[in-house]
């Protein structure tokens, strides 16, 4: 019987080629979108789930209160690990991981930049990065040891055994390779090319036991059977015991499975994070698939008259309703199967672009039987969803009616097919409105005054001997006319690397814990960055040598400190006095979507990592860069001339929103495309069934225009209803989305007007092709066919 079902399904596919193509192509696009989204989601939820001890691994988080607001963050004092180990009996061991940094690495005549993380010796016991060569127990014990990943080892040593070989890092450290581990997989938060032992950091004097310096990540491995709740209870007020400067607040241990997907806290409560995107895209994937399934449902039921006779005959000769439901489901599963094959091809073709776009490396493991089983299950599910309603609908025909020719389709005002079209276009319109609002929000933030001049401004990290030779570099850049201004800063202008609630000033309330962004700059910062000075003056060490202990405040800082006359005020930070010499307008250090924070810019006594310099506009950029490279190569010969244009760095702040906008646009486009395919199919069918009516109308004097509008009107009505349904939903959703931004655009009426116009135009174009074709046909033909 099954064979018979598939046989007839195949013949129907071939007989109605147009409908079959629309069904298969629509479903394939829907399925391909769903598969890509599924791949992305499964990649996201697989993050750091490969560690064998994953059930016992936790990350230590700070929890503190600032001016009545509770904050949670995961950078911790270096000293925390040993305190956890000694005070919390539930903990078996701890391991710290510093932020990865680039090191110039040399072996023989090979020189590469290597991304290194400094970790405790227990790192490889806690986390599962399989050791390929060397001794796992002692690999990270020796301060002069280094662990390489397999690909880094291959880069430096080829096929030779690297164990015991000596590497030179940053032209001053000699380290011996103690082990080789597998490259960290793409779905791990730990991305490194080599591991340096914590003992190395200690040997350089970089370790500290200051509880106020939150500078590393601390991980804990619980003892088997221990409860994290009991450990967390002990950590709640942990600072009280150790942190004399700030005895409030504490820590908590956060489980590995929530790192990637959650890790976002509001008022100390876990809220949102990546999981929100997972949820959004799960819904979007399901909707696109459903929209494709709706096409199948609509076209199948629209064709019902053609299948009615067959249903009647089958019933007369003994078919039960369940036989017929089985047959129709078999047909939809067959179509889903063909669409499934096409969708795999589509996925394979689009996967590289998808990976570039998402910055991931997801792939389909074709050797995994589970992947095939999932694919088969997916096809079955799609076939069942798409086929359920038509199967139910078609199998219900009464043979006495359909065989006598008294069978008529229902022409009620609300029929399921119309409801389904409305549903499709409602989704599409919501997505179009969302796309427009997201784009509007990005434009809004892009047009926001960032507070400095990004034009021809570059930064370069003080690597190698650049820091030592800073003055020479600066002089040559200025004297050769490459740059008009040069300033050394603690961090790039587009990144805030340091903040503190420890600033002191006259009149500060004892319980005031205002968080200040902390930035350092040596000279002419206002000039180099192109900031707007409100009061006072810029750093000028030549004229005012005392400026090394001077500070600039932004307007928010002046407000937070309550200064009516800020110039000349003395503030305290890191046990040092700083005299306020100027006030600048707030500039955007972090997100262009967020409010600017109070900020202090400390003078030459601060710490420095970056050179900012503004290119001389009288020369071409390429000449300036070529000459600048010569200077940097002269004073820092081992390092490549890696520079960043500030305007590009600033533009990257919009990347996440832009991706979101592009995804919304992509999905809106796909939804519209699939929905229009369905609409086209329905219009084709309607034109065919009203062939005779059109002929009669034409004979009676109807014009092409009136017939076109007659046929298109019904569909446009549905799109209009969809628009009315979708608009308030989209408004609520986008209003909710915008709430996440402090600096946000408004949702204007034109967004809705444009969307309405766009969707009606697309629908009109889709249906009118068929309508016009029907309208211009010769009426003699349709009337003769009677």
């Amino acid at each position: 019987m099954l064979f018979n079902y598939f046989k007839i399904a195949f013949r129907n596919l071939l007989k109605y080629k147009g409908f079959s193509a629309i069904n298969i192509l629509g479903l394939a696009v829907g399925m391909a979108s769903a598969i890509l989204i599924f791949l992305w989601i499964s990649h996201e939820i697989s993050y750091d789930r490969f560690h064998e001890k994953k059930d016992r691994i936790f990350e230590a988080w700070n929890k503190g209160s600032f001016n009545g607001k509770v904050s949670c963050w995961n950078t911790t004092p270096k000293i925390l690990a040993s305190a956890l180990q000694s005070d919390i009996p539930e903990i078996e061991t701890t391991t710290r991981v510093n932020w990865a940094d680039n090191y110039l690495t040399r072996f023989g005549d090979k020189t590469i930049m290597m991304k290194a993380s400094m970790v405790d010796s227990t790192f490889l016991q806690v986390f599962s990065f399989p050791v390929l060569k060397g001794d796992i127990q002692n690999a990270l014990m020796n301060p002069s040891g280094v662990v390489l990943t397999a690909s880094t080892a291959a880069k430096l040593f080829g096929t030779d055994n690297p164990i015991g070989q000596t590497l030179e890092l940053n032209e001053k450290f000699q380290l011996i390779v103690t082990a080789v581990v597998q490259d960290p997989p793409n779905n791990s938060r730990f991305q490194f090319e080599c591991l340096l032992p914590w003992a190395f950091l200690r040997a350089q004097g970089w370790d500290d036991d200051y509880w106020g310096n939150n500078s590393t990540r601390t991980y804990a491995l619980l003892k088997p059977g221990s409860k994290v709740e009991s450990a967390n209870a002990k950590l709640e007020n942990f600072r009280k015991k150790y942190d004399r400067d700030d005895p409030t607040g504490g820590f908590f241990l956060y489980p590995i499975e929530r790192w990637r997907l959650y890790s976002s806290f509001t008022e100390g409560v876990e809220e949102g994070g990546m999981i929100e995107y997972i949820r959004i895209f799960t819904i979007v994937g399901a909707i696109i698939l459903l929209i494709a399934c709706i096409n199948f449902m609509n076209l199948s039921t629209a064709k019902s008259e053609q299948r009615a006779k067959e249903v009647g005959i089958r019933k007369v000769i003994g078919a039960m309703r369940h036989n017929l439901m089985g047959q129709f489901l078999g047909e939809s599963i067959l179509i889903a199967f063909l669409a499934g094959i096409l969708s795999l091809l589509l996925v394979q073709v689009t996967l590289p672009a998808f990976n570039t776009f998402t910055g991931k490396l997801v792939e389909i493991d074709y050797t995994n039987p589970l992947a095939w089983a999932l694919w088969a299950g997916f096809i079955l599910l799609t076939g069942l969803i798409a086929g359920s309603y038509p199967a139910f609908f078609l199998s219900g025909f009464q043979p006495t009616k359909v065989l006598k020719g008294t069978f008529k389709k229902t022409q009620s005002a609300i029929n399921p097919r119309k409801v389904l079209v409305v549903l499709q276009f409602t989704f599409a319109i919501i997505l179009i409105i969302s796309t427009l609002v997201i784009k509007k929000q990005i434009n809004y933030a892009q047009n926001r005054n960032n507070g400095y001049n990004k034009d021809q401004l570059l930064y370069y990290f003080l690597t190698g001997t650049a820091e030592k030779n800073y003055d020479l570099i600066k002089n040559e850049l200025l004297s050769s006319g490459i740059a008009t201004s040069v300033t050394k800063t603690s961090a790039p202008l587009t990144e805030g690397w340091s903040n503190t609630w420890g600033i002191g000033w006259k009149g500060k309330q004892p319980d005031d814990r205002t968080l200040f962004d902390r930035f350092c700059a040596d000279q002419q910062f206002v000039k180099t960055a192109g900031l707007e000075l409100v009061k006072g003056r810029d750093f000028d060490l030549a004229a005012h040598p005392a400026d090394s202990a001077a500070v600039l405040l932004n307007e928010s800082a002046v407000k937070a400190m309550g200064f009516s006359d800020p110039i000349g005020q003395v503030i305290q930070d890191n046990g040092q006095d700083w005299t306020v010499i100027g006030v600048i307008k707030d500039f955007i250090l972090h997100s262009p979507f967020a409010k600017t924070q109070p900020m202090v810019i400390e003078g030459a006594h601060g710490w420095f990592n970056v050179i900012h310099f503004r290119l001389n506009p009288t020369n071409s950029v390429s000449t300036n860069l070529k000459n600048a490279e010569t200077i940097f190569k002269k004073f820092n010969p081992s390092y490549p001339f890696d520079y960043t244009f500030v305007d590009q760095a600033y533009a990257s702040k919009f990347e996440e929103e832009k991706k979101m906008g592009s995804l919304a646009a992509l999905f809106a486009g796909l939804t519209i495309f699939i929905s229009c395919m369905g609409l086209f199919g329905l219009a084709t069918y309607m034109a065919a069934t009203r062939f005779k009516e059109i002929g009669i109308r034409k004979v009676l004097g109807a014009s092409v225009a009136s017939i076109t509008s007659l046929l298109s009107k019904d569909f446009l009505k549905l799109v209009l209803i969809s628009f009315i349904v979708a608009s308030p939903i989209a408004w609520i959703l986008m209003n909710q989305w915008l709430k996440g931004y402090a600096y946000k655009t408004s949702i204007d009426v034109w967004v809705f007007v444009a969307t309405g116009f766009l969707s009606l135009t697309i629908a009109l174009l889709t249906t009118s092709i068929q309508a016009i074709k029907a309208a211009v046909s010769n009426p003699v033909k349709s009337l003769k066919s009677e």
């Binding site: 019987m1 005959i313 007369v316 000769i317 003994g318 078919a319 006495t400 065989l403």
Partner: protein, 225 residues
């Protein structure tokens, strides 16, 4: 074989109530060939639908082989139908997407006959109906007479006790029509009971008895000699 008494069927729409069968009684014995005649709208087709277990009467009794089937649910009716009744329609009602062979095979599939056995039975029937040479053709490739022969083949393939024919020659020219009537007569002679609705006095003459209907009732019976 069939005994119906006081059978009623009323069709209702919002505004109109149409009495299709009005306390109709009729008996058909096994092996009989009965023709039912009457003007359009007299209830012939309704009667045939009820006799064919495609429809359910509103009132009255319907004994099929001594079993009361009025009030059977669809599942029971379908089960009884597929084992006992074959249908022949005016418009042939073949499935366009299936070949001659596959159309005839279909009832056997629904009654669960094994493929090897099916092949034998279908080929036998196609042989008998002299349509074997067209076994791989699709209905639209056949003449009307050939299509009706296929329909008759499909009706008899399950070896039904009863064949219901609804104007079987209505769409055929006289020579093809006669051929089909001869087929039905042969089947009847081999023991199959036949009830045929027809407008054609000529066709009705092939039967043993003509039942004439008007307004949902039988008004006259003619025994053919």
């Amino acid at each position: 074989m069939i005994k119906i008494s006081n059978l009623e069927k009323i069709y209702r729409t919002e505004e109109v109530e149409t009495v299709a069968l009005n306390k109709l009684s009729l008996e058909v014995k096994e092996g009989e060939f009965v023709a039912i005649m009457g003007p359009s709208g007299c209830g012939k087709s309704t009667l045939l639908n009820i006799l064919g277990l495609l429809d359910d009467p509103d009132a009255g009794s319907f004994l099929f082989n001594g079993i009361e089937v009025a009030g059977f649910n669809e599942r029971k009716r379908a089960d009884l139908r597929k084992h006992n009744i074959g249908f022949v329609f005016q418009s042939f009602n073949l499935i366009d997407e299936l070949t001659v062979y596959e159309n005839v095979e279909l009832p056997l599939i629904y009654t669960g006959v094994k493929p090897a056995e099916r092949k034998k039975i279908v080929e036998d029937v196609l042989d008998k109906m002299v349509i074997m040479h067209r076994r791989n053709h699709y209905p639209q490739q056949l003449s009307g007479g050939q299509q009706q022969r296929v329909a008759v083949a499909r009706a008899v393939v399950n070896n039904p006790k009863l064949i219901l024919a609804d104007e079987p020659t209505g769409n055929l020219d006289s020579s093809n029509g006669n051929e089909v009537m001869q087929l039905l007569t042969d089947l009847n002679e081999q023991g199959t009971t036949i009830i045929m609705v027809t407008h054609s006095e000529h066709d009705a003459r092939y039967s043993h008895r003509i039942v004439r209907m008007l307004d949902g009732q039988t008004v006259m019976e003619n025994i053919m000699v």
